[in-house]
């Protein structure tokens, strides 16, 4: 239950050392997240992830809860610098292909062709997205 915040977030249970990040606290059991060593059970217990990698490792398990919290799993906001070109190109392509299909549906073929050109241009500029 992600809404239940546990006040004692420092329940550091140190048992077996794991092969995680050099600065991570060794985890309690054999864990799945390679970077911080937490298990999905740990995350559900505390309502907190241990590191960014946890979200990749437990993506399937977490998606349902995240939808329950936010009603969505599609980030539409800001993008970090190192991902900006690629992700914004991808977002733009999604929008354009939606518009192209709409234009085709309305038999507006001239506009559809224009949009297709724009799509190709972005694909060339951004490399394979």
């Amino acid at each position: 239950m992600f809404f239940e915040f546990e006040p004692e977030i420092f329940n550091v249970f140190i048992l077996k050392p794991s092969q995680g990040h050099p600065n991570s606290i060794p985890a309690a059991e054999k864990k799945i997240c390679k970077m911080c060593g937490v298990s999905f059970a740990d995350i559900t217990k505390t309502g907190k992830a241990g590191c960014g990698e946890c979200y990749e490792t437990f993506k399937n398990e977490l998606t349902h809860s995240i939808i329950r919290i936010h009603g969505a799993v599609n980030h539409t906001g800001k993008i970090p610098k190192n991902r900006r070109v690629k992700i914004s190109a991808k977002r733009k392509l999604e929008e354009l292909s939606f518009r192209m299909q709409k234009a085709v549906g309305e038999q507006n073929f001239e506009e559809a062709a224009n949009i297709r050109d724009e799509i190709n241009k972005i694909k060339t500029e951004a490399g394979e997205v």
Partner: protein, 358 residues
């Protein structure tokens, strides 16, 4: 004067937009770095590395001050918490933590709170876009030399899934005495969650909301952009402010003598009382603020009055009366409600208020 003192002394130099009803606007952005586990999963050395990395990323860029928490006294730390510059979680956490401050621009960054970075920007009045710009500026700087933990679907990755996406919490603190008097807060409380916003009493919940102060904030951060979040809050707050003003006008029209009497009595009390508890202060505060709006109170302004909200809290009081290290005052005020020390605190509070309002 050390930086913590400067933060605590500093009042906002200007009155913000809609200051008759809006006290302040805040934007908080949560960020983590992909090269490190979240702070709670880091050992002391790891947390130090995070601080080092952040400092290196931003140190040459601006007039930031870097406050190592190891250098602060307990009253100073608690006073910063009372001013909501740092959070209770931040104080409770392990010692390797830092506050980065740009006092003039109202920017305060907690390093190694729940997330590696909690970028906070505070502006007076209703100024959420300005507050966002300020926080965003720091975000762009920190983004320069460290990689953020980010997922295309989940957005910025945070320790708590409730902050995923933009990692941004926008909040506006409002003074709503007239809406409260007309018992209309309940309507707002019911309606706002439907559009992903929350309103709650700033001091206490339910019928006993101290100072008639409320906070409106967004509770969803994923699937909505930063701009959309701000654009959603703006008209809602504007509408509430308008409603508050209409009720204020109606009260003045219908019960001018009654409300004038209440305000003048509050003025008499705050200027003359020998003891003032924090609860009583909040009631007086609310009446006086309304009195400034009506023009009934003329020798106190919003700025001075709002600064009292923080200054008369226990740790801030103890800093004021306990000298440089705050120890004497600290001992005087840390007693529980039944302690004789508490009466002493109420005397100090009344004294300090009079001193400031002189």
């Amino acid at each position: 004067m050390n930086t913590a003192k400067k933060i605590l002394e500093g009042a906002s130099p200007v009155l913000g937009p809609d200051c008759d009803a809006a006290i302040s606007s805040r934007v908080r952005i949560a960020r983590n770095f992909s090269d490190f586990p979240f702070p709670v999963k880091l050992n002391p050395e790891g947390r130090k590395k995070v601080i080092e990395a952040v400092n290196n990323a931003v140190k040459n860029q601006n007039n930031y001050e870097f406050i190592d928490f190891a250098d602060l006294s307990p009253p100073e730390i608690n006073a910063l918490m009372e001013k909501r510059i740092v959070s209770p979680d931040f104080i409770k956490g392990p010692p390797e933590k830092e506050l980065i401050a740009d006092i003039n621009d109202g920017l305060y960054v907690m390093v190694n709170e729940e997330d590696h970075l909690r970028i906070q920007s505070i502006k007076s009045g209703f100024a959420i876009y300005e507050a966002y710009d300020e926080a965003n500026k720091f975000d762009n700087l920190a983004d320069g030399s460290l990689n953020y933990a980010y997922d295309e679907n989940f957005g910025y990755l945070t320790q708590c899934p409730t902050n995923l996406g933009t990692g941004m919490r926008v909040s506006v603190m409002l003074h709503l005495p007239a809406i409260t008097l007309n018992a209309k807060i309940q309507n707002i409380t019911v309606d706002l969650p439907k559009i992903g916003l929350t309103i709650r009493g700033f001091y206490g919940e339910g019928t006993e909301v101290g100072g008639d102060l409320y906070q409106i904030s967004n509770n969803i951060t994923l699937g909505i952009s930063e701009e959309q979040t701000l654009d959603k809050i703006k008209p809602v707050v504007e509408k509430i402010i308008e409603l508050e003003r209409n009720f204020r006008n109606a009260i003045y029209k219908n019960s001018k003598d009654l409300i004038t009497d209440k305000i003048k009595r509050a003025y008499g009390t705050i200027k003359n009382a020998h003891m003032i508890s924090s609860g009583e202060f909040l009631s007086l505060y609310s009446m006086l603020r309304l009195g400034i709006t009506y023009g009934i109170i003329q020798d106190i302004d919003y700025k001075i009055l709002d600064s009292l909200l923080v200054k008369v809290m226990p740790a801030n009081l103890s800093l004021r009366f306990g000298g440089e290290d705050g120890e004497k005052g600290w001992k005087a005020v840390k007693g529980k409600k039944s302690d004789p020390g508490n009466g002493n605190k109420d005397i100090l509070r009344a004294e300090y208020i009079r001193e400031i309002l002189k």
